[in-house]
């Protein structure tokens, strides 16, 4: 009986997933092999090879990956440090959590209005980095603080009695204990780093400084040029890359968990 209800409940989720994610994915995949969204002639791998020769696609890809590679570790480290310090000194105070979470709730337009005065005097990449850390670290901090708050305190006290210092306790006990949450926030940060395009677009427009020309700039501009085959191909390439990254991370996390437990 329970199984039937499980399947019934799962059916809605699967239907939504199929209609809103799998079907568009497959359709986009189809476009990637057409020469043109209008003439619809089969182009084989022509779009893929053309895209890898397109300097602006490569620039957008490079900048997007670079931004993710720089911003995500910084945001993670910052969030973890703030969480540890806050839990140590202020405890699990709802007000503190709320204060950290506030930037997440702000619309991009508001953030850009706040930052536009300072953004012009900073290198664009740095300006976006600051906005990203300020906006998205709050969510990480909330999750990390919650994980830290629910951790078994006895282990830390035992380690302390055994003479372990604060740094050792942090990296040998605290971090391994909240590893699943850290992994989740890592995935979340990667996804959020791809969303920085909104702030970039509002600050610098369709054709920003080349240091912050993201993959989404390329996609958006090619929509205006009706080059849907380019958009689809670029998206498929990026999705494949992301698939690989998430796969590696999942595997590493599972391996690490097995080692610990």
């Amino acid at each position: 009986m329970k199984k039937k209800s499980d399947i019934f409940l799962l059916a809605f989720s699967l239907a939504g997933f199929t209609v809103f994610y799998v079907a568009p994915f497959l359709r986009s995949l189809g476009y990637a092999f057409l020469d043109n969204a209008f003439t619809k002639r089969f182009a084989g791998l022509g779009n893929f090879s053309a895209l890898f020769k397109n300097e602006y696609f490569l620039l957008g890809m490079k900048n997007t990956l670079l931004f993710t590679a720089v911003s995500v570790p910084l945001a993670m480290a910052f969030s973890l440090a703030v969480s540890l310090l806050t839990v140590s000194f202020a405890g699990d105070m709802p007000f503190v959590k709320g204060a950290f979470f506030l930037p997440v709730l702000l619309p991009s337009a508001t953030i850009v209005t706040l930052f536009s005065r300072y953004a012009s005097s900073l290198p664009p990449f740095l300006a976006l980095l600051i906005i990203f850390i300020w906006k998205y670290s709050g969510l990480n901090i909330i999750l990390m603080m919650t994980a830290l708050g629910s951790m078994e305190k006895g282990m830390l006290e035992a380690a302390k009695i055994d003479g372990a210092g604060a740094i050792r306790r942090t990296f040998k006990i605290t971090v391994p204990n909240i590893l699943p949450v850290l992994f989740f926030t890592l995935i979340l940060s990667i996804v959020n780093s791809l969303k920085i395009y909104r702030e970039s677009y509002l600050l610098y427009g369709e054709y920003p400084d080349k240091s912050v020309y993201m993959l989404q700039n390329y996609l958006n501009n090619h929509f205006e040029k009706l080059n849907y085959q380019n958009i689809a191909t670029a998206a498929v390439i990026f999705a494949a890359g992301l698939y690989a990254v998430v796969g590696i991370l999942l595997r590493a996390e599972r391996k690490r968990s097995e080692e610990i437990w």
């Binding site: 568009p24 986009s28 602006y56 996804v191 791809l194 054709y207 849907y228 999705a239 992301l242």
Partner: protein, 696 residues
């Protein structure tokens, strides 16, 4: 492992969908288009009701779908359009206004209001206090137990609500009048959701000024929208769907027929047609609608009946032909068969494109029996919405307007229906339109559309004695600068240089697909050198040339005072002219490409092409056939003749399709001329920028 696979698939799919969504906001999808309703099949019924148009006497009328109530004299009659039955229900009533819903009607007089069922049985009645009474003419509307009516005060109207259940009459809040002080109620109607709507006449309109209309949700005391109406949009009302509809007569451009459009006005004042109605449907026997040729300015003027819309729900309409004393009820279905849909951009102030399309739509309907509905899309949304529809492969439109970046992307992707197979149209390109126009309107996939406007940047006020050739290159310009007499300079201002530099860039793009930085820097250096000498554009010397954007149609040419001077196109590198082109094209997925091409063919016929009394299209091949040619002064004739030649070897401008690039060229020219930047740096910046936005 399976869970991990699912997680990976989810992550990939989510990321792909997110990325696709970045492309203009959405992946291709079929967009629900509620802006038009096809008119077929149309069923209509007429009923003579009287009224005296000459005496400005409009009988109080209320209607609901196929039922109408008419108050004539002191008698109220019910008309059933479906059966033609007319029944007198109430007699000897001194009422001034009548309103109704689907089962009841109300009469309002100077000191009473009464509610009846459809058989004339009185359900409720109330005496009105003097401040709520009607003194002359008013409006009324009914929604179940609620009756609303207006009362004319000294300065403005008030609207009263009579709740027949509680038997209370109360004045509705009047903050809705703030947007149009002194406004008088013109119509009252309830929406299907019970919201009360009203339109108003403002003092300005009463005084003969522009008409205006506020659409209000009176029951919530909330102004929904407030917009000006063109004179042709008067006489409408807000339907039960909350949309303002009106009747709009249009004459065909050939002056041989006319028709009526049932149109609606969006909140921002844009107008879109929902149906075309033949003159016979709305015209009573013996009325005298006619197209009168105006000898003075060679235009046609449509003399037509006066109409008032009495009911609308988006599908059913009741129109009061005031001139004929006729009520007409008709229904339009939501079927999209047997009509053409044209998409045009429009703002509340600009109706050029839709006017041009509507004029020929009337002609096309009279010739083919097929109707053309004009779907106006806000100008600032137009390109994105059409792009989305094109990418989604939508087949719910047949003809669309394209210019600038949209035109450029449509041509690059062959996202149009090639017109080469339509002999009549092609023949007109070869025999009617000026030489070179066909080449201008041909891209990789073939003839892409008909040209609505084609403009070039040229110089005015250029004397015959200067020796500037009809077509000159940038090297000719340098030579001219070398030989220029003392006390003279070439251009009136730097903008002419900007346009010339743009021509150079267009040439470079056409040749190599990018800016040749070295050559471009040399040209900028020479221009700066001549400018520093005071012979190019800066300085106090008399100039030969000033700028003007000239269209190939008579209107713009006549709009510029060319005086005794001639025009010269801006210097180029190769002799190719780059024209700003606006086109009407056929949707690649149209269900009726033959009909759509047939409609476009009207734009190329001699009768249309040689009628240059308005802003329309390119001039014809035999310039002397132009209807206004005999009246044109010789100096203007020279402009026409010169413009004619510019089609040859011309191409649609690419730079005009790159938003803001011309402005960046102007900035760079200024920086170079002011010494704030070197020509090398300017060339590099523009080359980088161009590769960014053009070659990306």
């Amino acid at each position: 492992m399976k869970l991990h696979a699912l997680a990976l698939l989810t992550a990939a799919a989510v990321s792909l969908s997110t990325l696709c969504a970045c492309g203009g906001g959405s992946a291709p999808k079929r967009e629900e288009n509620s802006d038009y309703i096809s008119p077929e099949p149309l069923s209509a019924a007429q009923a003579a009701v009287g009224g005296d148009f000459e005496a400005d006497e409009k009988l109080p009328v209320a209607a609901y779908k196929n039922i109408a109530f008419v108050l004539s004299g002191n008698t109220l009659a019910r008309i059933d359009f479906s059966t033609g039955e007319r029944v007198d229900l109430v007699s000897d009533t001194p009422a001034f206004a009548v309103g109704c819903d689907g089962s009841r009607f109300a009469l309002v007089g100077s000191d009473f209001a009464a509610l009846y069922d459809y058989d004339g049985k009185k359900l409720s009645e109330i005496a009105l206090e003097p401040e709520a009474s009607l003194s002359y003419y008013g409006c009324a509307a009914v929604d179940g137990d609620r009756v609303v009516f207006n009362s004319s005060g000294k300065k403005s109207d008030s609207i009263f609500l009579w709740d027949t259940k509680s038997r209370k009459v109360s004045e509705l809040p009047s903050t809705w009048q703030a947007g149009a002080r002194g406004a008088r109620v013109k119509s009252l109607s309830f929406g299907a959701d019970g919201v009360l709507y009203s339109t108003f006449i403002t003092n300005a309109e009463i005084a003969g000024g522009d008409a205006a209309s506020s659409v209000c949700d009176i029951s919530e005391d909330r102004l929904i929208s407030d917009f000006k109406l063109a004179a042709s949009q008067d006489g409408g009302r807000i339907g039960s769907d909350g949309v303002y509809y009106y009747v709009e007569p249009y004459a065909a451009s050939n002056g041989e027929s006319w028709s009526y459009f049932i149109s609606k006005v969006a909140d921002d004042g844009r107008s879109s047609t929902v149906a075309m109605i033949s003159p016979e449907t709305l015209k009573g026997p013996g009325t005298d609608s006619n197209i009168i040729h105006n000898v003075h300015d060679d235009s046609d003027f449509l003399f037509h009946d006066s109409y008032s819309l009495e009911y609308s729900d988006g599908s059913n309409f009741v129109v009061y032909n005031l001139t004929a004393g006729l009520l007409v009820a008709f229904n339009i279905s939501d079927s999209a068969e047997n009509c053409l849909i044209a998409l045009v951009p429009e703002t509340s102030e600009q109706h050029w494109y839709s006017d041009a399309v509507k004029e020929l739509a009337v002609q096309y309907a009279s010739e083919s029996g097929m109707q053309v509905l004009v779907n106006a899309i806000p100008k600032d949304e137009y390109d994105d919405r059409v792009r989305t529809k094109l990418l989604a492969g939508d087949d719910d439109f047949d003809v669309f307007f394209a210019s600038g970046a949209l035109l450029n992307s449509v041509l690059k992707n062959s996202a149009y229906y090639p017109l080469d197979e339509f002999e009549g149209l092609v023949n007109n390109f070869d025999t009617v339109l000026a030489e070179g126009v066909r080449g201008l309107m041909t891209a990789d996939a073939g003839l892409f559309g008909i040209v609505l406007r084609a403009e070039y940047w040229g110089c005015l006020r250029e004397t015959q004695e200067s020796g500037i050739p009809d077509s000159w290159t940038i090297d000719d310009l340098f030579k001219f600068c070398d030989e220029i007499p003392a006390g003279k300079k070439v251009f009136g201002d730097r903008y002419m240089i900007t346009r010339s530099v743009c021509n150079v860039i267009e040439d470079m793009i056409a040749k190599d697909g990018s800016i040749d930085e070295k050559r471009f820097s040399e040209i900028l250096s020479k221009l700066k050198e001549y400018n520093d000498k005071g012979v190019l554009c800066d300085g106090s010397a008399d100039n030969y040339l000033t700028y003007g954007m000239l269209a190939f149609d008579g209107f713009n040419i006549l709009g510029n005072d060319v005086g005794e001077y001639r025009t010269v196109v801006n210097p180029t590198m190769s002799g190719t002219n780059y024209l700003t082109v606006e086109a009407l094209m056929v949707n690649r997925n149209s269900k009726n490409p033959e009909s759509a091409a047939g409609f476009l063919e009207l734009f190329t016929r001699p009768g249309y092409v040689y009628d240059n009394s308005g802003i329309k299209q390119v001039i014809g091949r035999d310039i002397t056939k132009n209807s206004i040619w005999p009246n044109i002064e010789p100096q203007y004739q020279r402009v026409y003749e010169y413009s004619m030649k510019q089609y040859k070897d011309s191409k649609p401008s690419v730079l005009e399709a790159l938003d803001g690039f011309s402005a960046e060229v102007a900035d760079e020219v200024s920086l170079v001329f002011d010494g704030a930047e070197t020509p090398d740096d300017a060339a590099k910046k523009l080359a980088d920028r161009l590769s960014y936005i053009y070659l990306e």
